[in-house]
Symmetry: C2
Subunit: 232 residues, 2 copies
DNA sequence: CTTTTTATTTGCGCTAGCGCAAAGAAGGAT
DNA sequence: ATCCTTCTTTGCGCTAGCGCAAATAAAAAG
């Protein structure tokens, strides 16, 4: 796939960039393809590139020294990832790993190059800052959730959030379709796949959702919202 | 207290600001005093100012709809807080509350004014971005910690982190002194004051720390690191 | 010095959620 | 069609951690 400057315009951080800026970015970047299950980078790697996903899905995850991992975020096309390294002046490392969930292509922009652009183009820096503030807020909210809410609330919340992100409103009778495994949900909510499985089975019995292998269909979002709010 | 531009230079975000910039900031800002227990702002308030703490200590915390709260961070003099609103263009709200732990004074900078500075002074924007990336990384790490580590590891980690921040190396025989309540520690680590109390009592029996009312002295940091690493 | 307030400790019972293990279900590959 | 891999379900026992309640300790107020 050949990426044009017009394509790049849909990247939130580049929404105010000029065509000249965008072409400069394209000229200095390379395209990387990655098959399903591969890693664009590993936690701890030196952050020499940041990426714009152009097709596929990528999950950002962090693991602790024992190898247990948490999902921080799923990246969809035209979203940026691995950007933290572009800002830190020292030879910074990626704080998370980026693994593809399907075959992917991404534009790899050298961190140093983007940094030079940020220093001279305040409008790009500003949009990147806006993105960062929303990350901070989301992480703070999720942190609070993990600290104060029970597992069923967190799982319900995660499903609601995912349904909102995917945005696919196939709300006929099939409900809102999500494709992820119990393990994925567990890693997003700080619990175990067993507990997730038990919860989903329960909700299916009650008719709130329908489940399948790596598939969750939300039939009754309203009930999930009630659970998420703790009105058990 | 009268603040000079020289004072402002110790603020990380203003380290590359010119004297002219700093004086402009001072001219557009006001000083606010707040007695112990008061709030500079509440979660949900419109974010019309950001603050530079000039004396005292402030804790940033977030509460869920049921009123349970978590501590996000403690602010020390010459650190900035409430900055997220300066970036968001809409009439944004503070995502957290800022409560003083002692009598405090702070410089209140209008968000709109700082925003105008950011738009024209890339070096300030860049330093703010650097600060934001460190926040994101810290929140991600704490999130992972909360999701994957047991309570004793999290509490040990919190003490280590606090000891590092306060930086007071009174490492004679008294150890590193921290002044916070069991409740504070609980809110920092997503647990309850009972559990924190039991843990601290246990560690005191083992001689790793000494405790008192709103006081924790770390005698043997090395043991805490072992606990934090999960080598129980 | 006495009273009041606020912080801490600890016993006790309880349950939410963990995690092994083993069986089932759904695809994919050959 | 058959095998193999991967994902899911569920029984079962267990324990980490919660949270009430009551006692104690330390500081603050009077």
């Amino acid at each position: 796939m050949n990426i044009s400057s017009k394509d790049l315009k849909q990247v939130v951080v580049f929404q105010h960039a000029t065509d000249e800026d965008l072409n400069l970015i394209l000229k200095n970047s390379i395209t990387r393809s990655m098959e399903e299950g591969g890693f664009f980078f590993l936690q701890g790697d030196e952050a020499i590139h940041l990426y714009i996903l152009t097709s596929g899905q990528v999950k950002l995850m962090q693991s602790n020294p024992n190898g247990q991992q948490v999902n921080l975020r799923t990246i969809y096309p035209w979203q940026m990832f691995g950007a933290l390294g572009a800002v830190r002046t020292d030879g910074a490392a990626y704080p998370a790993s980026a693994q593809t969930l399907e075959d992917c292509t991404a534009l790899a922009i050298p961190s140093l190059f983007l940094r030079s652009m940020l220093e001279t183009r305040p409008y790009i820096a500003f949009d990147l800052m806006t993105l960062m503030t929303s990350y901070i807020q989301e992480m703070q909210a999720r942190y609070r959730e993990l600290a104060t809410e029970r597992v069923e609330q967190r799982v319900a919340n995660a499903l609601i959030r995912l349904a909102g992100q995917s945005g696919i409103k196939t709300e006929k009778e099939a409900g809102i379709e999500l494709s992820l495994s119990r393990q994925d949900v567990a890693e997003m909510t700080g619990t175990t796949l067993y507990t997730v499985s038990r919860l989903l089975s329960d909700w299916e019995r009650k008719g709130f959702i329908k489940t399948g292998r790596e598939r969750i269909a939300i039939i009754n979002p309203h009930e999930l919202v009630r659970i998420a709010d703790g009105q058990v």
